[in-house]
Symmetry: C2
């Protein structure tokens, strides 16, 4: 990472077995940027550390090797945090705080770069047309509350000089490969991913629902850029809304039609779900993420690109467009 | 309290030995609104409970009697929270969270009104001319960070139905009676209070410094109004900036001159303090607190009134104005 000079560095990745964690790890290995310490609650591959970092003493083990750079991705997702109040606070808040405190307690001249994966769930309705960089954090879920609290801790610990933190509010990642997870936002990927795999997908909300997206490729780009950034540019406000693509579900489906053809879009089945609709109703739709853009974070160019990147990165044979 | 109907209610006050706690208690006793449970780390009078509510098990004892209404005022002040990082987080964050969790764990139909004393320190520079109700929470102190986190917890616990919370961002209380405390904002009161008592006061910042004020009388009014408010009006955003008086130090001194005469103002000694100036530089100066005002919270009418209320409420003989 450029900010650390050209020598090899130690890099800790929490949540390394997750989708973003695996893609980030692959890129870091590919670039040969340093020695990787991979951590998750399940194995993230040979040599990875498996533990619950919200348990006393575990976070200390993770920072004992004094990693120069920490990507803190570990969290339980929104649906699970909403369903299990105690677990959400234990993992997403207490776990993060234990990690931050473990770094602080190393002390001396140890001051790693900490890149924290936050979320647009730190914002809650009602919204302006586009959420600016000075809009209030009024989350409407426990997950969003926990992410906001971690952002605040990251700012305060950075201000006190315990580490050099930067928080990135990732758009909803789309197209998320693999199996659906417990995130209430899962259908945004499902309605693209399953039809492209020849399978039916359930759409639980109306096509007018607007949301904010980034491809996994763009998200990995954000994280790597954050690791290299001169944080002196951030001042005291160390948490940034990332640029993204604002699209309605209808626009998602139009893009799918353009990229993969009419027949693929027929695999989307409308099945309204009031619980998911209520959660999604409180979510951001559009941002004016000019600070992030000015700092060099780059969004996807279009939702069509988001679908194309999915086909390329997951090595899915491109369907013939127009084969309705 | 009106929202609880006309029967007598049980009221818990944390931080009851503090300045606001004592004035609030006096008013509640005067109005005969209910049975008071007073708590602090030091005695708040005969029959009060003395404990450290950040210690495991203590918060549970406070809510065991199932108070209908809880005024949560307990906190360590900004200067101390900045000087002692661990203590600040232990009392201001963990203590509040333990209290909130103790309420949650009573369960059943127990759902008290919780009135939380937050602070304008939840905001940090750079600011617009007046801070609106949708401005970002980007605190620049550990105290402000802790208060913001408690606001977020209050919203989430209320959303989940564990209690019926409302957070009030109190302006800097002025004129604070009695001895100076460790708050970095202490001089805003000191330059009024000490000269009125015939004593010298130190002014550590330039007269151009602008800040946001409420009298103790107005602050007690906010708390009592919050206890009575129909919280259905709040929607999901349960933390409110309180209306106040925006004044520069120079305007404070002018008001002192008008109320108490030129000679009194001569007791203010300029002695710049870079540490205090740096802290104060990050603090709010002015608000557009229209939500709070629309909900019936009432500020003082002028800084002159703030000084007059101090003389009345503390039974200080009014100096003869113009006796320079």
């Amino acid at each position: 990472m450029a900010h650390l000079g050209s020598q090899l560095v130690k890099i800790l990745v929490t949540g390394a077995a997750g989708m973003i964690g695996r893609k980030l790890t692959a890129r870091l290995m590919n670039e040969g940027t340093g020695e990787l310490i991979l951590h998750d609650i399940v194995s993230a591959g040979a040599g990875s550390i498996v533990s619950d970092f919200s348990m006393p003493g575990e976070a200390e083990k993770l920072v004992a090797a004094r990693p120069d750079l920490i990507f803190h991705l570990a969290a339980i997702v929104s649906g699970e945090a909403e369903a299990d109040f105690d677990k959400g606070y234990r993992i997403n808040l207490d776990g993060t705080r234990r990690l931050f405190d473990a770094i602080r307690k190393v002390g001396g001249d140890y001051k790693p770069r900490v890149v924290f994966a936050s979320s647009i769930a730190v914002f809650g309705a009602p919204f302006p047309d586009a959420i600016g960089d000075e809009f209030v954090n009024a989350p409407l879920t426990s997950y969003g509350t926990q992410k906001t609290i971690c952002e605040l801790l990251l700012s305060d610990y950075s201000r006190k000089g315990f580490f050099d933190g930067i928080g990135l509010r990732l758009p909803t990642i789309c197209v998320r490969p693999g199996k659906p997870n417990l995130a209430a936002s899962g259908f945004f990927s499902g309605i693209i991913r399953e039809p492209l795999a020849g399978q039916e997908a359930v759409l639980p909300v109306p096509e007018t629902v607007r949301h904010w997206f980034a491809s996994p490729r763009a998200a990995i780009g954000f994280l790597v850029h954050a690791a290299k950034l001169d944080t002196a540019q951030l001042g005291a406000r160390r948490n940034l809304s990332m640029p993204g693509i604002s699209a309605t579900v209808g626009e998602q489906i139009e893009a799918l039609r353009r990229v993969a053809g009419e027949r693929v879009t027929k695999l989307i089945r409308r099945q309204p779900d009031a619980t998911i609709m209520r959660i999604v109703d409180g979510w951001p739709r559009n941002f004016d993420a000019r600070r992030g853009a000015a700092l060099g974070f780059r969004a996807d160019a279009s939702f069509d690109d988001i679908i194309r990147f999915h086909l390329e990165d997951e090595r899915i044979p491109a369907p013939r467009a127009g084969s309705a």
